[in-house]
Symmetry: C2
Subunit: 233 residues, 2 copies
DNA sequence: CACCCCTTTTGATCTCGATCAATGGTTTCG
DNA sequence: CGAAACCATTGATCGAGATCAAAAGGGGTG
């Protein structure tokens, strides 16, 4: 009988530093000599890079349950992990310590390894999205992902707080903020999403949203069944 | 005293199936129930996905020394690993077996884990390339990478066999094959690269090539020092 | 050698999204 | 409260690269 994933990672807790984050707070990405492992507990986080003058780029989104190891982030200028949600919680520990713990606990090692493989697959999927889809399809893909990850099912549809600004969305999808604004307006006009308050959106039908994006099937497969937390509440 | 990476992976050899590949030969990506780990020994390989009608896309390039685990590839339609070089060699083993071996050999586990993290970082870097660079810059980035990976230093510069066709390059860089052809012609005209036979190119100055690409520093850092093999010859 | 198939090259035109610009809304903070 | 930032929206214009089309290699095979 295998222990549940929640239980597996709970064992790391005594070795970690708990970090409560506020929106836009940054987490350090340490140098190779002292690699870091972050375990996302609550909230959405962004991996961001700057790559000339004042242009930024959001390489990936992190959700509760994700693990991120600093050597999985390329050594670009100005890379950082930043909180996108109002309140978040992350656990931090040194990779060298995690490695040691893995040796005594294969289940733990395998769980973290699987989470890191998920990250890799998501990055590859994101490549597909920005390389092969139109602007409208990209935004539909992102909305689907976020609705599945942070949304709550209600009678009116899936309600979720959008953790990304227009600029963030643009930086993640290789679009322009102006273009994103236009696309989102169009999605509202078409009834795909509706506004339900400050930064809060409703998606009446996830199927209708998925219909706008050619690879929605894959997105749903990867984000509907992922582990959502690393520690039981 | 740590064993060398080559020695570490050599221990896997008795548990693997050796595969000799010819150009365009495909490797199976098994379902989740029987996940596969491939160890690239010789040659360049492509991870390819098809995502509508007859459009393909090359998600990543694999070089000798790389490890690839099938769950790190997203469940898109028509994903496959294909040989890009004339002659290649890969070792295959079931992930469940690899997991078991990791438990008895932490160095092995750490080495594979590090290689997988490299893959992740490279995917993130590739996101940056296709999301933020112009067509010319993307091709310069790819040429730099391949020259560093498969090239040989000669008095005339770095000589390398280009494992990718124009179409492959286009599918990897989110460009059009026509556009790639134009860009490569321009690079030839500018003396950045020269033709030295069938599919063979010479890069006189890697510095000149790097100058064309804003993130060449990062590319060089990631591809110059990577392990090149998993087994001593 | 001639034929076929596939890749590459090059030209002409078109389009999606970037860029520039102006306006209004919202949060923050003295 | 009012000023300063920041964010979102919308219009007008522009351009990098896609698309379409046609020609030119370049090998393999009979």
């Amino acid at each position: 009988m295998k222990p549940s994933p929640e239980f597996v990672l709970q064992q790391l807790e005594p070795h970690t530093v708990r970090i409560s984050t506020r929106k836009r707070q940054k987490l350090a990405i340490s140098a190779e000599s002292d690699e870091t492992l972050y375990l996302i507990q609550t909230g959405v986080f962004l991996v961001r890079a700057a790559w000339r003058d004042d242009r930024h780029q959001i390489l990936s989104l992190l959700y509760p349950g994700d693990c991120i190891r600093s050597s999985a982030i390329p050594p670009l200028d100005g890379t950082e992990i930043a909180a996108a949600s109002e309140n978040g919680e992350v656990w931090r520990l040194r990779w060298s310590i995690a490695r040691g713990l893995f040796e005594g606990d294969p289940d733990l090692a395998h769980h973290v390894s699987d989470r890191l493989a998920d990250q890799t697959a998501r990055l590859a999927l994101h490549n597909t999205i920005i390389a092969g889809l139109t602007g409208d399809e990209r935004v539909a893909a992102l909305m689907t992902e976020i609705a599945l990850r942070v949304g709550k099912q209600t009678p009116a549809g899936i309600v979720f707080d959008m953790p990304l600004s227009r600029t963030d969305i643009a930086e993640h999808l290789a679009l322009n903020a102006d273009t994103v604004s236009r696309i989102v307006s169009r999605m509202r006009a078409n009834g795909l999403i509706a506004v339900a308050g400050r930064n809060r959106l409703v998606c009446r039908s996830i199927e209708a949203l998925a219909y706008e994006c050619p690879i929605a099937t894959t997105i749903r497969r990867m984000h509907e069944t992922a582990p959502r937390r690393t520690l039981v509440a």
